[in-house]
Structure formats: C-alpha cells, structure tokens
C-alpha cells in the first residue's frame, strides 16, 4: 500500500493506494502530477526521519508527503 499525505489547513489529507492496482496507481500518479504542477514539493520517507525528494511519481514509495511551495516569511 502506498500513502500520499497532503498538508493542508486541516493538518493533512491522506490518500492510500494499492501498488498492485493499476487504477489506484494511475489515480495516485495523477494526484502527484497535479500537486507538483501546482508547486507542491513531494518527498518520500526512506527511513526513520530520512526523506528523499521526488521529482517524478514513484509507485513504490510507501509514504509521500506533499507540502505547498515555499515562500520567505
């Protein structure tokens, strides 16, 4: 199972998909493309506290977090 976590004003929204289900993967990839296209950064967890930026959709990523475009504060 893969999990996409999208940060939002409620904390986050979570979307899970089955890595063996083509339709689920397609939907997850579509979400990835839409979010990153809108400026979100995608990062997958590769270990405890360890992350890696995702430039393209990785169907095997177990957990991916998305956060909006960064800005100076």
């Amino acid at each position: 199972m893969g999990l996409q976590i999208v940060m939002d004003h409620t904390g986050d929204s979570r979307h899970s998909f089955d890595a063996k289900d083509a339709a689920g993967i397609a939907e997850a990839e579509k979400r990835f493309t839409e979010l990153t296209g809108a400026g979100f950064t995608a990062s997958k967890r590769i270990g405890p506290g360890q992350t890696e930026l995702l430039r393209k959709f990785d169907p095997n990523a177990e957990e991916t977090v998305f956060f909006p475009r960064l800005q100076g504060g």
Binding site: G11, T41, R45, V65, F67, G73
Partner: protein
Amino acid sequence: MHFVLRCAEHAFKGFLAERGREAPALLRVTRDADPFYPGDIRFTAEFSQGAPLSWRVDGRNLRRGEAGILLRPVSLFEPDELSAEISSLYSRLFEDELIERDLRVARDAYIAVISTTSDPNTCREAGRLFDQQQRTIRSWHQGADRARWHQAAGGVQLVGLQRPIGGRRAEIAVTDDVVFGADSWSTSTVELAGPMLTATQQREAQRQINARMSMLLQHLDGSPALINAQAMARHYAEVTGMGAFMVSVDVGDENAQKKGLALLKEWLTPEQWTQYEAHRWFEVKGGSSGNRYRINHGRQMNIDELDADGRKVCGWCFLPEGQLVAGDVMLAQKIALETNEVAALKVANRIGDFAHYVYYDSVRAEYWGGARLERRNVVVVADPTS
C-alpha cells in the same frame, strides 16, 4: 482636523465620481481616543451613503505637525471594516507618500550601515538588502503582494494593544503595522521596552502579555492557538538593543494542530523528536552545506542557523504557502533543509543581518515618536507563555 475632513471628502467623492455616482453629503466627522493606541485619535467620517471612513492619527506625530504623512485608515487594521472600496481609497490617497517614506527609511538605513562599518562583506550585504527592500516596498505598494498577504492572513491585519506596565511601555502589534508593509511578516511581535524591570514586574508583564495575546487570538479566529516565544528574540535584542518577543501564532483548530504534530512525529528521527519534546525545537543538518539548523516550534521566524559550537549565526524564515499548522510547517522546513537546502534558503529571509535590524529599528523608532531606546534600557522576558 481639517486635513482629515478634506481627505475623507476628497476620497469618497473621487471614488464615486470615477464610477459615475453622485458624491454623498458628508454628514459629520467624529473623533475619539483610539482604544488600542493611547494618545492616538480615531476619526470617523459618516456620509449620506456608503460605509463610514475611519482613520487613526498618531497623536504623537500629530503634535509634531506630521499628521498628513501618518494618517492611515483604521479600516486597514480592522478586517471587519476593510472593503475593497476603502482599500482603493487608501491607495490613492496615501500610497505616494508612503512609498516615498518607506524608500527613504530604507535608504537611510543603508547609509547608516555603510557609514559605520568598513567591512566590505557587511556593506555588500547591506547593499543587497537595500536592493531587496526597494523591490519589496515597490511591489508591496503596487498592491500585488499586499493583496496576497491580506488573503493569506485571512483578512486579519492588526490588533494592537498598548498599556503602561509599571510606568513602562508594553506593546503588542502585528509587525506589518510597524514596518508599513515593507516587510510581510504576519508574525506577531510583543515588545517590552523600558528600564530593567524587577522580577515581579517581569511576571506582571508576562501576565499582561498573556492576557493581551488571548485577546489578540480571540480577535484572530476565536480558537485556541499556541503562542511561542522564539529564541530569535534574544538574538534580536542583542543586535538591536531592543527587547522583543517574536511570538508565533499557530493557526487552525485544535484537531488540525494535533494532526500536524502527529505528522511531524512520524517523520522526525527519534532523536529529533526527543529534542522536540524536551525543548520544543529540534536540529537538522543542511543537505548541501552540512550546516546545523535548529527549528523552533512555530510557523515563522523559527529557524536558527548554528555554528559548530551551537551558537546562533543567524535566523532564517521560510514556510509553505497557505495557512498550515505549526507541525506541518516545521516538517516542511526540515525536509526542505535536509533535501533541498539551497532552494529553501534562496526563498528564505535571513534574519540577523545588520542592515535589516537598522532598517526595522529605524522605522520602529520613528513609529514610537522618534525616540531611540538604548540597550541598557531593555528587558527581554523569555517566554510569555511560561
């Protein structure tokens, strides 16, 4: 008073004439003491049609005969009264004066820096900041950034409260007020300035600050929120000689804040989470530079860059767009610093630059009536929530 009348009349007539509408009659102008700023005066002009217009006049500067420069519509500070119409009027009436004033302050700050140091790096950095400030000021006054900031802030602009504490002054204000929008901080600042307070007075100051922050938060959205003093404030005080809190107000409801912290816990290393639980900060290592960063609990102005000995070098401020809760923001900051440090710092504002403080300080000093405070007259109270 005459100036206020003229402004109100001219503004409304001009606005309506542009739209082919008949100018309303000016019914009356009332004046009363501003409830948030003792010494300031609030004028309200009522017309035969349309919403009343309000201005706050800085009483101290009014006495100096500079009311024309410092007239600012109260409506900008109070979202309930803010309307596109009034905002438009404000822009046409005061924008030219304000942009000129902001640019002059920025230029003076730059000159102050280059005339007091021969360090080429400092001068170069001051020049870079001056350029950046000019761009920011122009951009802000042209409206795009301001509109975006208004939107991001949910329309909340300012709640300012001021009341003497033991004969000293305590002030709470959203910094956007102080810097005239030349900087887009939405972080609240709590400032204490005055002769060194006794421990009892400090506690009283903290109590009063807490009470005022509660009022501020109720005004913001009526929901509980976290208030966190930032360690940055101490560094700020060292550099500027001004006592200050940088208080970060969390957003969202309690559930959202809890979810944010839960997500943060899931994604931190065990060591980082242990640090956070103990200190409300955790350290990360820059993915490109290997530099140490301490991410304090908060949403803005909450990142410290540390040297090898753990001393603060400077602060950084960047965060994701939108109203994300503190836990989400801190996680985004961690990921950005660890995996894409260069890009993150490229958009970040650096805190700790001499020029920045001179600029900010000079504006604030003017805001306070021209009096500069001396370092020996500063007290920094560590944490208003403790």
